[in-house]
Point group: C2
Chain length 337, copies 2
DNA sequence: TTCAACCCTGACACCGGTGTCATAATGTGA
DNA sequence: TCACATTATGACACCGGTGTCAGGGTTGAA
């Protein structure tokens, strides 16, 4: 396989390489005849421009970085799927970069990443989406970025989220309509803005339906399965035991289910359990978890698509969208007895 | 932030850029004094070489591609973790590229990927690790590659695997020692070489312990949760019902567990269930699954590390390693009654 | 002392594209 | 028909590194 460069194309087509470059980039000021001719040579020689050389000349890498620090692997997988879908159509690549939110070295870590890989932009996934220190840093350095699933919509950035508060409201209301009054709640990781949003939705549903909020029914989790086990223990030990548990994600809900089952409780007859996210595990266990389906892939895909547009044309408008979350009822919730 | 290039370093240190380049690449023939001086300037100016420029000059991209077509997301996640660990220390990046094994366009898809992204090498994960068409193509094109979890060790390539056959043998033997004689088996995806290996281990354990192999106890799955449900249905409908089921991965085992539980069977009292891989789900459900822990991260890390070495020095020896798989017993298997 | 061998160093071309600017070709209005 | 604007094209430098090679300085053996 001999290499086909812009020079071979140029000499073969009998034009200068600058003209080939013009055709490549759809620039104006090329006659139709010349453009046709060059395009034909592209096909004949099966020419693909070298992204590295382009990158060097334009100081671009055609790579988007995706940074994350998330205990939920399935969430990350879904984020990647969405991001890849956006990259593939645009000749962009996706570089994945796990890192510590809490580490003091975070900023210098990111700085090194940007510097050494010359990323064109960054996708911020929770909990980075609302991490002010980082966002401010990127703004100051003028690094293009897009935020996925952040709580707040700013005016001047790309941000795609889903309505966590409303989702939590709906699933709590679902439990209330099944007759539940004592509904325990397991919070997510304090660094994630979704944690606060979901909690708000839970409280709004309670107050909408005239149920008094009870502090003792709330446990602090961190989205990990393990934290769900700890929270579940506290909740199941309460007397009287709540008739329902709403965990801020499916992993923690699965942990509640596991512990309840270990303790010979029947789900949903003895206790109803609801989760959030519609992670694969929600349908891999018995009983299947009632949960809220978040369009994670779609959110990320839109965010990355807009990010790439923005990189190509920095004048591009900001983009602020909220997608809908959807209630999915399965076997883990039932009428209270 | 002003840009620090090799030129600034060179003029600041009072040497030519070639000398700076020599220091950068640890080349010989630089006096200690000069080397020290340049290294000091690196620090003072906080210089990081531009990988794009290096890539252009050396016709390298410093990117490893990881291709996969795997229903098990958690497997992919683990592969990524291992690959990233190897990349990070070596200033390499990881590009992830899902694609269809069965598509006729596979080769041209990969060809385009290689051509347009100038990948330095490829990590082949199952089922690509043993996909002859692709391996032959890469060999012919002289693209460096490493295989993870392939069934066969070749002489001239980088390949890191774990002992699937032995793992399957051990877990089957574990069941046999618990008194099980009618042990159903669910096969994996026919494209994956692990499928055959695990089946072999199962049969070897049976014959070692003088148990006759029974074709009717074997179901065809494909590693997906869904296929596990179908297989589970057939198995649980058998009369007499087997006292144990060994599924070729944890997702399918989880499906068996779910269906058995739905049918009011007690696991492990009424039926024992064993899986393979030690996926997260194995410990997220109740009862936890007895399974075989494969060092997926470690396999991938070693494979990628060797791949990067090989790229840097094509004379590098081939590398053929088999890591050990380990039996993990949880609550899903018990003495037969 | 002499000369080859070796070590260090820098000048320069090159990787494969893009940006800038000059120039040739064409079009337009008076 | 001429002056001037506009379009099409190419020459050339440049992005930030690396490869090649030549030349000056040392060293060691003859």
């Amino acid at each position: 396989m001999k290499k086909v460069t812009i020079n071979s194309v140029a000499s073969y087509a009998g034009v200068s390489k600058k003209t080939v470059s013009r055709v490549l980039n759809n620039e104006p000021n090329v006659s139709d005849a010349t453009r046709e001719k060059v395009l034909k040579v592209f096909k004949e020689l099966d020419y693909t421009p070298n992204p590295i050389a382009r990158g060097l000349a334009q100081n671009r890498s055609f790579i988007i970085g995706c940074i994350y620090d998330n205990p939920s692997k399935s969430y990350i997988t879904r984020v990647q799927t969405g991001a890849l879908a956006a990259c593939q159509g645009n000749n962009y690549n996706l570089l994945i970069h796990p890192c510590d939110l809490r580490g003091d070295a975070l900023i210098s870590n990111i700085e090194h990443l940007l510097h050494s890989s010359r990323l064109d932009g960054l996708v911020l996934t929770p909990p980075f989406s609302d991490f002010k220190v980082l966002v401010d840093f990127l703004k100051r350095k003028k690094i293009p970025y897009a935020r996925v699933a952040s709580a707040v919509l700013e005016d001047d950035s790309i941000s795609v989220r889903s309505n966590d508060e409303q989702g939590a409201f709906e699933i709590t209301e679902h439990l209330i309509k099944l007759g539940h009054k004592a509904i325990a709640f397991i919070k997510g990781h304090p660094d994630h803005s979704a944690t606060e949003q979901r909690f708000k939705g839970y409280r709004r549903a309670l107050s909408t339906h005239g149920i008094e909020f009870n502090e003792r029914l709330v446990e602090e989790g961190n989205f990990s399965y393990h934290s769900g086990v700890d929270s579940a223990r506290s909740i199941l030990d309460l007397t009287p035991r709540p008739t329902a548990v709403f965990a801020s994600n499916d992993y923690m809900a699965a942990a509640v289910l596991k512990l309840a089952t270990q303790r010979q409780l029947k789900v949903p007859n003895d206790i109803s359990i609801a989760g959030f996210d519609n992670a694969p595990i929600a349908r891999h266990i018995w009983p299947g978890l009632t949960t809220i389906a978040q369009p994670v892939e779609e959110m990320t895909k839109q965010a990355v698509t807009k990010l790439i547009e923005h990189i190509g044309d920095p004048q591009e408008q900001p983009y602020q969208v909220t997608l809908e979350a959807r209630l999915i009822t399965r076997e883990s919730t039932a009428q209270v007895k």
